[in-house]
Symmetry: C2
Subunit: 537 residues, 2 copies
């Protein structure tokens, strides 16, 4: 959409809906749009983060470079109080280079990636494979005594699916938004964290079993087809080093290995030249402020995570969000905005390993809650320490008037999730009302999980996330080897910067506070007559 | 679809349409279905060709292995007259291993493939890149004097497209079949071969220009996104060796290079360890017969090309077709079919470089026509020698009663293209009439090009091609790095074998001959008042 179309849309909205009063005056919104459409830096920011720096795994050399570069950008644009806030995370890890090659029965290079935080091979490791699909400890019995000296293919080689249903690149229709506008009530099983716990400790058990059996390495199959790989892994704590090198192999290549293994011996060569970095186990959030005129009015905040996986360049996850946050900061500074409340911009670290950065911010500034009573679980990261009680507010709790998160890929903004906060819906609708011309005025009370608004929201603060057009985030780019700049769209990111800057300024200037949630207390089981169905195990 | 569903479909067809009489008795069709559904070998055949042998470029060691193995299979199943027929083609070429790595401004391995029949690098070649998009000779002027010592990126780095329109995996609806049932009249521009000629000689001109300018290698961008590569190249004649190594780079990786080149120097390392094979410049078609009871009745034939490109394993293009052809042969032998006419099975070579194998068969057995009067064009392959006159029939011309080609991926058969042969429509419909239960009864007179029925059809013989469900052939697998066995579907290939075997037997036993086309003579220009539009050049 072009600027004059937007202006026309704004004008017509004003004519037909005079009762809706956004707290921003029209010239301010239009100056924001002018900055974003005519003087944009958002794609240059995204390009530097992706093309130049590349994948930014927490505590890796690339993430350190990104922490430094983004601070420089904020400072260069005139933001205040630009600084890092450290929190204990674990080790860095990075891939210098790596390859997996089938050498027998015929030579062919496979598409692959080392699994994060698995150890290097010592030079090139050559060994026969065995296909030994394992999903639970009970599966170990079948393979005991058969794995010595082998590269173990641990995934069931599930066949490809016929993806006839939908195009991989998608924008939300009005019907789609109606569908997501559904508030699900929580199902408060006291054992709620059991599946997550089992998923989290399974790789550790498998690695220990493989090591005990004398296996030399392991491989898993990519969960997407068409040659894409991902490489997520989670053993980032010092002292928790996995025993065996692990690789993820593209589905087509993995299935070929599994078929060939039915007809005769198959030998692989794995070269995983990866490195741990233990020099600084702290990860760092990047923070920058646009100071408010009223130091007692508190602040509003927008955030996105700067860290990524490394199969590609972390473009849609989440250089896009980071670039939008930075661009909103640049724009507001460029137009000389003087908000009542401070506007704080946050680029989080450690999101991909369990939302560490924003959790650390909450615990440092907003509210604390006990660690999990089980010390093993307590060590597994924020998600195991997020349903403990009581929640104790810190002095800074009431200073945060609202938090806005961006982490749903590179698509344009279509509205906001209030994350269960019904009371905030009308106010947020008012603030989005100028953007009917972008079809970006939807406010839904539904909850979303898995990113950096969550721990604001779980201590009762007004933490929101933007609705975005999915593009090919779910189908292709999320965590994958094609998460590159190409999958971003300049018009989408520029649109997003306009809306974010406007909403932040509305929030910062609002006479009324954004309604907060309720500070949570220990919930009841919502189904006290619950039984476990043994057939589901 | 399961066997009893098919039988039910056949029974109901017989009830509602008693006037339609296929020349096969019901027990024969049902025994074919039983062989294909209960005793299938088609996926084992496809797996050997793809997983075990892999990509089968004409005259490469893998293609030689496939020629040998397929003959062994035909012989093992009891086919007769199993033999190779050679024709002059050119050199073999194969990739031992290869890689392209960006080393500056940051190290990253790129997805790439050497372009077929380009020469090897001597070890690892390291050089800076220059992005110099060139599409015509007139573009050379801009880059003259700027390419010495460079790896030249010759493709315009076109941005990614929003592929919102359709799912990548598709089956044909009735509406789709109605849409393809359209006969287009030819547009007989006397300069019809100019665009093809220019496309064919352009890589030669570009290579010569790059060499003269002192460039050290060149790279082009993949024409598909999402990390796929292809690697087609066409300089397979001895004495026509390209001067420079060439590689194709995945679109995401290529565009990243192009963006980085706007901000500073970029250095690549290319290692292309490829080999020419000049020991035997003949390519070989594989032929096998199921002998007919009447030696004077001639023969019907089915064919698919055995050769492929090598970015993956040539599964949908065209191990699928080859496996269907071979399976139909196995089935007909297994049920003890005794056709009146001989049924000949052909696995063609050199299809991917311009339909050489079936063209050679036509010229050896069926009809000849002069070579192009321009000797440069004459040397460029069959497509430049296919509109020359007169067509001279050989003694074997009238022996070929019908040819059926399979080369549209791994999808099930949905009917037949008669390729402009209107007269054949009713007879072919009769033969397909048992297969309403597979929605495989469509016969359309439309023409398709680019594969091995073409040169039968252009000398007036009844050369047909099957309509197939596209699956993800057009969107993803055709020539690409994911053309693997996984993208085949066992139920589709088994269905195809049933229909092919039935149609071949119907054709071999038919009392009436399949109506042939007309032996072509020099056509008139269909628009004698044609002018060239200079803005289109």
């Amino acid at each position: 959409m072009r600027l004059n179309t937007l202006i026309a849309a704004l004008a017509s909205t004003a004519l037909v809906a005079p009762a809706v009063a956004a707290p921003l005056d029209a010239p301010t919104i239009n100056r924001i749009a002018d900055q974003s459409f005519q003087h944009s830096q958002v794609m240059q920011t995204a390009a530097y983060l992706t093309d130049r720096i590349g994948g930014r795994m927490t505590n890796s050399p690339a993430m350190r470079e990104a922490e430094k570069w983004t601070q420089g950008q904020f400072k260069g644009w005139g933001l205040s109080n630009v600084h890092l806030e450290g929190f204990e995370f674990g080790r860095g890890w990075w891939i210098e280079n790596a390859s997996v090659r089938m050498v027998s029965p015929r030579p062919i290079t496979l598409r692959s990636i080392p699994i994060a935080w698995t150890p290097a091979t010592t030079g090139t490791l050559s060994a026969p494979i065995i296909v030994a699909p394992m999903a639970k400890e009970r599966d170990f019995a079948e393979w005991r005594g058969k794995l010595a000296g082998k590269i173990v293919l641990v995934t069931y080689p599930a066949p490809a699916k016929d993806d006839e249903a939908a195009a991989p690149f998608k924008r939300l229709t009005r019907d789609d938004i109606t569908r997501i506008n559904k508030v699900e009530q929580p199902d408060l099983d006291p054992d709620f964290d059991k599946p997550r716990y089992e998923r989290t400790v399974w790789p550790r058990k498998l690695d220990a079993f493989l090591k005990a059996e004398g296996a030399v390495a392991w491989a898993r199959m990519s969960y997407r087809d068409n040659g894409l790989v991902h490489g997520e892994g989670y053993r980032y704590q010092v002292g928790d080093t996995a025993a065996l090198p692990g690789v993820e192999i593209a589905a087509e290549d993995y299935r070929r290995l599994a078929r060939l293994a039915k007809t005769g011996p198959v030998t692989l060569e794995i070269n995983s030249n990866v490195h741990f970095v233990d020099t600084d186990t702290k990860a760092y959030n990047v923070l920058a402020d646009l100071p408010g005129s009223d130091p007692k009015a508190g602040y509003v905040m927008a955030g996105a995570h700067l860290d990524s996986w490394v199969a590609a360049d972390g473009a849609t996850d989440n250089a896009a969000g980071s670039a939008i946050i930075m661009e909103a900061a640049r724009i507001l500074k460029a137009i000389g905005a003087t908000p009542k409340r401070t506007i704080r911009f946050a680029l989080w670290a450690g999101e991909e390993q369990g939302i560490h950065g924003s959790d650390a911010y909450v615990r440092q500034h907003l509210a604390t809650r006990p660690l999990n009573a089980d010390p093993e679980k307590a060590a597994l990261g924020p998600s195991f320490n997020s349903r403990t009680y009581p929640v104790t507010k810190l002095p800074g709790y009431s200073d945060l008037a609202g938090y806005f998160n961006i982490d749903n890929g590179g698509g344009r903004l279509r509205g906001l999730y209030t994350e269960g906060n019904f009371a905030a819906v009308p106010m947020l609708k008012d603030w989005l009302s100028p953007f009917e011309g972008f079809d970006a005025t939807s406010v839904v009370a539904a909850k979303t999980g898995g990113t950096d608004h969550v721990y604001m929201q779980t201590v009762g603060l007004p933490g929101f996330q933007f609705i975005q057009d999915p593009l090919d985030y779910g189908s292709r780019t999320h965590h994958s080897s094609v998460d590159t700049y190409d999958h971003l769209r300049a018009t989408d990111l520029r649109q997003a910067a306009v809306i974010l800057a406007s909403v932040l300024l509305s929030a910062a200037n609002s006479d009324k506070p954004i309604p907060a949630g309720t500070t949570p207390t220990q919930p009841n089981d919502t189904d006290p007559f619950r039984y476990k169905d043994p057939s589901k195990d």
